[in-house]
């Protein structure tokens, strides 16, 4: 499901508060609603208690629950309908893994805005 409803948020999962804030500032100005989670576990809790987001921006390297662990948990207990997950990572080696797993796409840190909005446009319209 992809929603064009601007009230349906993009879920930003990153353990660095500054990055979450920067993404919120940038996305909100473009009209996207933004929800935040501090790590994979926080994101899973958010997903249980809220309607599905239109997209998940997922950091790879987080603690305590990192990106891949979050994806595993999602696979075991799937969402009512699929939500595209875009991986955010500073690690260049993740490319290959990102392709094999069920990611809608990946973005390298530091994040360039053009590719970011391209991905958002592709999945959220």
């Amino acid at each position: 499901m992809s929603s064009t409803d601007s009230r349906v948020p993009v879920l930003v999962v990153d353990d660095d508060g500054d990055i979450r804030a920067a993404l919120r500032d940038t996305l909100e100005l473009e009209g996207y609603a933004v929800a935040e989670a501090r790590d994979g576990g926080d994101a899973l809790r958010w997903l249980e208690n809220n309607p599905l987001p239109r997209l998940i921006l997922l950091d790879w390297n987080m603690a305590p629950m990192n990106g891949p662990q979050f994806m595993e948990a999602l696979e075991k207990k799937p969402l009512p309908s699929p939500v595209p997950v875009v991986l955010l990572t500073a690690d260049a080696r993740v490319n290959e893994k990102a392709k094999t797993a069920r990611y809608a796409g990946y973005l390298k840190k530091p994040v360039e805005l053009d590719p970011l909005f391209a991905v958002l446009k592709q999945h959220c319209g």
Binding site: D18, D25, T26, K109, P110
Partner: protein, 729 residues
Amino acid sequence: MPQRDPDAARDALNVGALALAYIVTAQLGLSLGAVSGFATLVWPPAGIALFALLRFGFRLWPGVMIGALVANSLAGAAAPVAVGIATGNTLEAVLAAWVLRSAGFDLGLSRLRDAFALFILAALAADLLGATIGVGALSAGGLVNLGTFLETWRSWWLGDALGTLTVTPFLLLWWRREAWQATSKRISEAAVVFAMMFITALTVFFTGERGGTLDANALSWPFFTLPMLYWASLRFAQQGAVTATLLLATVSIAGTAAGYGPFLSDTLSHSLTLVQRFMAVSSMSALVLAAAVSERDRAQTASNAALDQTRFLARASAILSSSLDYETTLQAVAPLVVPRLGDNCVVDVIAPDGTIRRVAEAAALPEKLEVLRQLRAFPPSPERPSPVNAVLKSGKTLFIPQFDAAALERLTAGDAYNDLVRKIGPTSSVTVPLTARGKVLGAITFGMAESGRVYEPEDLVLAEELASRAGVAIDHALVFRAQVSASAAASEALKVREDFLAVAGHELKTPLTSLLLQLQGLQRALKKGFEITNLGDRLERATGAGLRLENLINQLLDVSRISSGRLKLEPEPFELEQLLREVVDRFSEQAQRVGSQVSLEARGPAAGTWDKSRIDQVLTNLVSNALKYGEGRPVEIALKESDTEAVVTVVDHGIGIAEEQQHKIFDRFERAVGTREFGGFGLGLWICRQIAQASGGRIEVKSAPGEGSTFTLRLPLSSQPAEEPHVVH
């Protein structure tokens, strides 16, 4: 009354026995027809006298003198003549014994040179002297005239020489009784050869017409005895040769004296002369043959032994080079040396920490092996001197030919170590150093005990040879281990660096990401003409990210400076309390954010001279850590001041640090907890400690997991930091 000397008594007895043997055998010779009454062709006493002096020493010479005096007096010699003859007989025996001893004569006649020495020095030379003196005495006494002088002299000489060549070797060889191994096969063979010898001799020397004359045809008969003589010499060595010779001499003389045999001539003395010539050649041939055979046997034995040693060393080398685990290979070699090089064996090596460690032991008897194993509880130490200590110190072989049994017994009873040593019961030991490239690496000790065997020089050579091979093997193993551990350390260092670079890359990219997101987002908004409502917040966040980045970069620069010794402190006088309050104030907002109550109890002012910005850095780091790892619980900060130092404590009640991690947190590139949970390089505490030390102080931690941590910074109040000596103009 003078004390009786047991040695003198025994000597007197020996002298008497010798004199008696001399007289009895002289009567035998004299009964066989003597030329001019005294010059007998059969004179066993000459052989007995030489044997006695060779075997028991020159001090028995009076026995010869007395025997000769009595024998000749009994034969009817006037006193002066008897004295003259006896002097000749005595001188002859003493001279023969002396020249043989000087020539290094072996009483076992085991070498060719011994056979030749007996023949040339004793039978030819010394006996010639004796004959000359004896016949001289006879002629002085008017018992020989010019016409009979030569014959008398020749008979005398020949009789003595034959005694020397047949009786002396026989007595020497059988007295020693170094008997050949008496297997039943050998005994049967000996019985056959001597029986055949006896029958052949009887046949040759007791046939023919009694009292007949020299028969040219019969002259070939004596040769039939030679095969048996040579057989005995070849198969039974010296003992066979002398026995067969004596047997042949006895039968041939008896037969001829009885008037039979091939050597029968017109007079008895001429007949006996012929017999003795035959016997001289026969006995000489037999002795030479036996000596040659034993020389060959010895060479064979030596070559077998050499081959055996080579094989032994080859086996040992194969084991030693089979593995680089030298303790295992030494344990495999130790049993190989028992019993060849001893009844037991122990191997000690010098461990890398300099202590002496027993790595292997072996013993012929299982119960002694158990005792040796128990000795492991008593490693060699300076307080307990042992051959091993001495050898490890000197690097030279230590050979103890004979342990003092009494000293061994005197060892303190009840001492567990001494009791064990007594149980082993060493009689002799050899300790050889294990060396390689001039360095002593350990020692092998070989010991004799229950077998009572003794070490031969070649055993020592073999032991040293084995030790040198073992030394090289240990050296190779040590060099290899050193290389392995060096390369492991190198790869560990490489891994630490790689891990650090991965962490550093991630840590630097995180604030960079938020900084660039903010700046690019603002740019895009400007371009699109969006109204930016929270510009102030966003700029603040961008600046914060930039400052984080700066802080990280500064840490990297600090590490680089400290590592290359370029950390420069700029001390200035200030009050620590004042600085501490500033730092704590700076964290009030963050403390609120994480929910920690921060309390400060300062009993300052703690005025001192330090690098203010560096101390600021240390305090900032400690407070920041307390909030970061404090799990939102209260943080207590205190400052105390003594006469000599200022002490700052920062206490949190957070996750704490495990005991084994506590020393690591001050290391470079180390951190007690996982990287991602708490950002940063994990360099902060290392830098703090470097700064504290450069300022003449120190930093410590006390912590328990789950209970929190207490960091203590101590700074000297008076002394100047070591790095910045003040130059006096």
